[in-house]
């Protein structure tokens, strides 16, 4: 029930609040009119008005904006004289479906403006004089596999990690071996570490296999640093395995552990931004996503693999994941009881 309620809201393809930077080289009344249309739209906010192209490129590179609209010099004049003018629209398409939507929204506004100008200038209907040339950066073809493969890789690592860890302690409970362990002087930290390390290694092997497959089969190389992916993965795996271990220590049967794991996984996966853009979700859902480990790692792996982002770009995600991992492991150690 809870899932139905939450997920129906979050599984939306609509995107509000696209951050667009507008480079206005024309600075005419016409260009200002177009800018005001973007300002008035509930789909866009314009946090920056860069004066140079290089500045705009940097904004999109560092993900401060999702889109850049360039209004060329002579925009107003060309429109009146030549009845034809072109605009440049650049969209960040690391998240392919969101990129396509954003581009479509922006073009919609430009078309509307175009129609309006058209009728006011000539008083008759002709095809709009403004042609927007658009391009998608980082994932130029808006290729679905390019965009999905890194995300799916994250999912596989997550699901297997969570299940391995989730089934483990509870299996020992069912077998009765946990009691045998509990009468030994082993301490809780040793126990949790012993449970964690093998799965942590398995997780890394799986990630490696996945990266090689992405490269060989889907022709998606890692543009950024492979080491960076492993750095984030090593923290991420601690977190996911820790969650699995918590579930496992709380459950009495493997079936119970399985149900709880799936419950969280379904929520995490559908809200992660794998299928539908996170930016399109309502604010409360985006807040919920701050505790969704999958969304962090999907974001990071897409940025590093497709965009070639460096350490600085993903530092905040890494810091969040690290804090989260420490918290989860502490809870796992604390929750594991040597007494019944």
């Amino acid at each position: 029930m809870l899932q139905l309620l939450v997920l129906s809201y979050t599984a939306t393809f609509e995107i509000k609040k696209t951050r667009i930077a507008i480079v206005d080289f024309d600075k005419s009344s016409s260009s200002r009119e177009l800018v005001s249309l973007f300002e008035g739209s509930r789909f866009f906010t314009i946090p920056y008005y860069p004066s140079q192209m290089s500045e705009a490129e940097q904004l999109i590179d560092t993900r401060k904006v999702h889109q850049v609209l360039v209004i060329p010099e002579g925009f107003c004049r060309d429109m009146q004289v030549n009845h034809e003018v072109s605009l440049q629209l650049v969209t960040d398409a690391v998240d392919g479906s969101a990129g396509a939507l954003r581009s479509a929204y922006a073009q919609g506004i430009i078309q509307d403006y175009s129609q309006e100008i058209n009728t006011t200038i000539s008083g008759r209907r002709v095809s709009g004089p403004i042609v927007a040339t658009w391009s998608f950066w980082y994932n130029p073809e808006l290729d679905y596999t390019t965009f999905m493969v890194p995300g799916i890789l994250v999912l596989l690592v997550t699901i297997i990690g969570m299940f391995l860890a989730g089934m483990n302690v509870v299996k020992e409970k069912e077998m009765g071996t946990i009691e045998q362990i509990n009468v030994t002087p082993i301490n809780k930290i040793q126990f949790i570490t012993g449970k964690l390390v093998p799965f942590w290694i398995i997780g890394h092997l799986e990630l490696t296999l996945g990266l090689v497959l992405a490269w060989v089969v889907f022709d998606i190389p890692v543009l950024g640093s492979v080491g960076l992916i492993y750095l984030v993965a090593s923290v991420y795996l601690v977190l996911v395995l820790g969650l699995g271990l918590i579930i496992s220590t709380l459950s009495d049967t493997q079936q119970q552990s399985m149900f709880i794991s799936w419950f969280f996984l379904v929520l995490f996966i559908l809200m992660s931004g794998l299928f539908t853009p996170v930016e399109g979700m309502p604010a409360w859902a985006q807040t919920l996503n701050t505790v969704n480990p999958i969304s962090y790692f999907i974001e990071v792996i897409r940025l590093v693999m497709l965009k070639g982002s460096g350490f600085v770009d993903i530092k905040s995600q890494l810091v969040s994941l690290s804090g989260y991992a420490v918290l989860v492991i502490t809870i796992a150690v604390w929750r594991y009881r040597k007494t019944v």
């Binding site: 077998m175 009765g176 071996t177 009691e179 045998q180 362990i181 509990n182 009468v183 030994t184 002087p185 082993i186 301490n187 040597k338 007494t339 019944v340």
Partner: protein, 244 residues
């Protein structure tokens, strides 16, 4: 309370409650060093509960408990180093080999690799199972597994071993062999604390306690119990006590 070093387990007024249910009602008893102490009682009489407290698997509600000279409240981990435990549920890792199980538990107790090797060789040869060292546990018959579980429980040379119905579900011959194993270890100075439902096994113990409804109703040698109650067999003693 008898503060004598000859006692390795000292329990005084032990109470364990689950909500309003009293599982252990004011237990007081002591176990001597090197003795085989039988802990008897009907199902649900509170034997396993008491044993779990002695092993540090469960917290007592109140009362004084000392195991191997250590206090159950403050020195639980020290106790764990000095005891072995074999639970009702068979609890070796089924998918590991015999030796891997020995190595794993030996490792947990901080034994060196060489020490584990020697202990394993010795324990297996005493069982006559040396040639099965590298067999996967779940391919072995239950009786063997029980004997192996016992050997794993004593790999770190504990002072006391707790056995919770160790011979449940095995044939009479294997049971006899299992008791030979217990005797063998007791003769080497190991204290054995054992629960059982088999009255013939009760006869093997040096001393016995019989629990009824969370209380200890009798505590004596098997001989003393029988003559004290005027019964011919332990079976009669048990039935007479449980009926009251």
């Amino acid at each position: 309370m008898i503060h004598d070093t000859q006692y390795i387990i000292e329990v005084e007024n032990l109470v364990k409650k689950f909500g309003s249910f009293v599982a252990n009602d004011n237990l007081t008893f002591s176990v001597k060093k090197g003795e085989i102490f039988g802990f008897l009682g009907a199902n649900g009489a509170g034997k396993t509960t008491a044993m779990k407290i002695l092993c540090g698997l469960s917290h007592p509600t109140s009362g004084k408990v000392k195991v191997a000279g250590y206090d159950i409240y403050t020195q639980k981990e020290k106790i764990k180093q000095s005891i072995g435990y074999m639970s009702q549920k068979f609890s070796l890792y089924e998918e590991l080999t015999v030796y891997e199980n020995f190595r794993f538990y030996g490792g947990i107790y901080g034994m060196t690799r060489l020490d584990i090797q020697e202990q394993t060789t010795q324990l297996l040869s005493r069982l006559g199972l040396s040639q099965y060292r590298n067999r996967i546990i779940n391919t072995l018959p239950l009786g063997w597994k029980q004997k192996l579980a016992f050997s794993v429980a004593v790999i770190h040379r504990p002072a006391i071993v707790f056995l919770d119905e160790p011979t449940g579900g095995v044939d009479p011959i294997t049971r006899r062999q299992f008791w030979d194993l217990i005797y063998d270890n007791a003769s080497r100075g190991l204290t054995v604390f054992v629960t059982t439902h088999y009255m013939d096994e009760a006869e093997y113990c040096n001393r016995l306690s019989i629990m009824v409804d969370g209380k200890i109703k009798a505590l004596d040698t098997p001989q003393g119990m029988k003559s004290g109650m005027g019964c011919a067999t332990m079976q009669d003693v048990f039935v007479a006590l449980a009926r009251n």
